[in-house]
């Protein structure tokens, strides 16, 4: 695997908290290395010794199934030791501060911390108090860089390059850490971004002037190379941000008849878990255009690549 020595050539930051921590070249390096790991995942024996003797702590302060599983499996495939820390079983219930919790863990010599927390910025607090690396697995509505990397990978693998791709993102932009990270990564790689969502789910202040938005799904998907759906959380309806799921689906649901306006080999993506019949219709999710399950495999491969880039020798 010739790409493996990229670590010597390119200096990586110690933590991955937002995509701002990575240059375009570093992102490409992670993607290229991800491809090598993806090949390993298709072998009969999927385990490699790269992280043998390293310890990875999975610190999940809010529930997660998919992301946690993906990180855990990526670490196991690379022969790392894993320790799990989740808020429900931890001493945080006893009102211990994040700082104290993390300092205790650091005394156990953990090399990489994978952190998920409902409050934006917590990975920075943790990074300030530990000697290892922090990889952000999602902090509130702030950032989810490994999801963005896997999304970029999925586009890069299919199209060869992200520059100039028309990417349409549909759904709850305002409260989404995935969108914040995807926008940051896609802009860095030169994609054209269109957002489609009602005003109540759109940030009142534009994050970047290069991002366009529309309220019309037909316009939004026109000539799109990629359409990305986002999960509509039930609580948005309860807190009066959208009327209800029926109306939402009517105006902003991803339906198969819309796809005829898109590019002919359009790719349908979704970070999961999907709500069939709300933000995406079942026949779209199951169509030949959908790469939703492929994204999960890519998530595993790119997380292996991220571990590889961020672990210290």
């Amino acid at each position: 695997m010739g790409g493996m020595d990229c670590r010597e050539n390119k200096e990586m930051r110690k933590h991955l908290i937002t995509l701002d921590d990575l240059s375009k070249e570093q992102i490409i390096s992670i993607l290229e290395q991800g491809k090598a790991f993806k090949e390993i995942l298709s072998r009969p024996i999927k385990k490699i010794p790269t992280l043998r003797g390293k310890t990875i702590g999975l610190l999940f302060f809010e529930p997660s199934t998919r992301t946690k599983l993906s990180f855990e499996l990526a670490a196991k495939r690379m022969s790392a030791d894993i320790v799990n820390f989740s808020a429900s079983t931890s001493s945080l219930k006893k009102n211990e501060s994040i700082k104290d919790t993390v300092m205790t863990l650091d005394a156990m010599k953990i090399d990489i911390y994978v952190v998920r927390h409902p409050s934006p910025g917590v990975p920075y607090i943790i990074a300030d108090h530990i000697k290892g690396s922090v990889i952000n697995a999602g902090d509130g509505a702030h950032s989810h860089p490994t999801q963005a990397i896997l999304d970029l990978y999925t586009m890069w693998e299919r199209f060869g390059s992200i520059k100039g791709l028309n990417v349409t993102i549909v759904g709850d932009v305002k409260y989404s850490r995935v969108v914040r990270s995807d926008i940051s990564g896609l802009l860095k790689m030169g994609a054209n971004i269109t957002l489609c969502t009602p005003k109540t789910l759109l940030p009142r202040y534009v994050i970047d002037a290069r991002v366009r938005h529309t309220f019309d799904m037909k316009k939004a998907v026109k000539d799109a190379d990629v359409i990305m759906g986002l999960r509509m959380q039930k609580e948005r309806q309860d807190s009066g941000i959208i009327p209800d799921e029926v109306e939402y689906n009517h105006f902003f649901g991803l339906k198969s008849h819309l796809l005829e306006h898109a590019s002919k080999d359009v790719m349908i993506m979704h970070p999961g878990p999907i709500n069939r019949g709300i933000e995406i219709d079942g026949e779209v999710a199951d169509s030949k255009y959908s790469v939703i399950n492929e994204q999960v495999t890519n998530g595993l491969a790119t997380r292996m690549s991220i571990f590889y880039h961020f672990v210290e020798n």
Binding site: S97, P120, G121, A141, R177, P203, R204, Y205, I207
Partner: protein, 420 residues
């Protein structure tokens, strides 16, 4: 008791600096050498300034002494050049009756450092429902009333509270915030809050209440003071109302003049404050109003918190900046050093102006006046850290930074109260 002679300093007399010796004799100021022995302070390069008055201090006591107590707050005050502070009533329990006003006045006096002028609440428990005993609180020494931290949302109750407060000639202060709009916001709503994925507090959470208050004040013809105005739009509304003859006044804080929401980009909870730090265009507009002498006062909104509270994530940490120790130095750095506004043009906003607003005696450096002043060295540099901040709340954005301009001595009624 010996007299005190302060020599080689420039003294602010009647709005102008004069190079003259100042003496303290029998607790009073004199410019001619008194009889008897004098202790001499050589204040070469320093300025002698009238002592400061803070119109907006959170005492935290009774009830939250882990954040601040009367010993630490009075130390912080005199360290910052303040000999008088007005306490906000959002203590635990809230200062909504004469017994608590008495407690604050009596206990605060124990340390003999500075005077505390308590505010009482407008409504019982600051709940915005029933009127508090404003008349009895005034008799006990309350200088004004406010439901600071909370804002009475019910217009009828606000009007009644104002009419009743005015019956007793009480100064009425409002913290202008529509809590339904600010909701769970933690910093200014704008590009920064969107980037950080944190819920924002829109400008209109403030301006919508300022507009309402202006209308109530106009309709009832009762004066009202809006505290810690943070937005350009809010200040513009007030200035326009003043032009219409409405009796409305306002203050701003040092931190809204010095910092902006971009300072929150590092998730540093020491910049988390309510009202939130706004845009640079708001900040520079407020500074410009100081240049034009259109602001009525500067209040610190001193809000100390314990370390562990400010170590919570940004969305869970409490609002507030510990300010008394550093307010004057920060203002000097921001207004005089950075924006070239001469000290003599703005110092009134934190000394004579708030005293005048509350109907208290002014404190000027005049022959025969009580010796309430402090000595400030504009060139001395000092480091803000846990030891140099006397407030129990170490939550200042200046933590760990060096600042130019140092308070050397503070005198209250002729007695040196700082250094301790």
């Amino acid at each position: 008791m010996n007299n005190v002679e302060i020599k080689n300093a420039k003294v602010l007399i009647g709005g102008k600096f004069e190079k003259t010796a100042v003496y303290i004799s029998d607790g009073r100021i004199t410019f001619s050498k008194p009889k008897g022995k004098s202790d001499i302070i050589d204040a070469t390069g320093a300025l002698v300034l009238p002592s400061l008055f803070d119109i907006h201090t959170h005492l935290r006591c009774p009830g939250q002494e882990y954040k601040e107590d009367l010993d630490s707050v009075t130390k912080a005050a005199v360290h910052g050049g303040y000999t008088d502070i007005s306490s906000m009533p959002n203590t635990s329990p809230p200062a909504d009756n004469e017994a608590l006003i008495n407690y604050i006045k009596l206990e605060g006096a124990v340390f003999k450092r500075c005077r505390i002028h308590p505010f009482g609440t407008l409504t019982l428990g600051s709940k915005g429902e029933r009127l508090s005993r404003m008349g009895l609180m005034k008799k006990a020494g309350a200088v004004g009333v406010t439901d600071d931290g909370k804002c009475i949302s019910n217009g009828t109750i606000m009007m009644r509270a104002m009419e009743y407060a005015d019956t007793h000639g009480l100064f009425i202060m409002d913290h202008a915030e529509d809590h339904d709009i600010s909701a769970n916001g933690v910093l200014n709503e704008g590009v920064v809050s969107e980037k950080l994925g944190l819920p924002g507090i829109p400008e209109i959470a403030e301006t919508i209440v300022i507009k309402r208050d202006i209308e109530i004040s106009r309709y009832l013809n009762i004066p009202m003071h809006i505290t810690h105005v943070s937005t350009k739009r809010g200040a513009e509304l007030i200035l326009a109302a003043k032009k219409d003859g409405i009796k409305i006044t306002f203050d701003v804080t040092p931190h809204h003049l010095a910092f902006t929401d971009e300072d929150c980009l590092s998730f540093d909870t020491n910049f988390k404050v309510n009202p939130p730090l706004r845009l640079d265009s708001d900040r520079t507009f407020l500074i410009d109003l100081i240049k034009k002498e259109l602001i009525d006062a500067i209040g610190t909104d001193h809000a100390p918190h314990a370390d562990f509270e400010k170590e919570y994530p940004f969305d869970r940490a409490p609002f507030g900046i510990s300010s008394l120790d550093t307010a004057f130095c920060l203002l000097y750095a921001t207004l005089t050093v950075e924006n070239k506004i001469p000290l003599e043009k703005w110092i009134g906003l934190i000394s004579s102006a708030p005293r005048k607003l509350l109907g208290l005696r002014p404190s000027e450096l005049e022959e025969g006046q009580r010796a309430n002043f402090f000595i400030f060295h504009p060139k001395n540099e000092w480091k803000v850290d846990r030891k140099t901040i006397y407030s129990k709340g170490k939550n200042t954005p200046l933590q760990g930074k060096k600042i130019k301009g140092e308070v050397l001595y503070t005198f209250n009624n002729g007695k040196m109260v700082y250094p301790f």
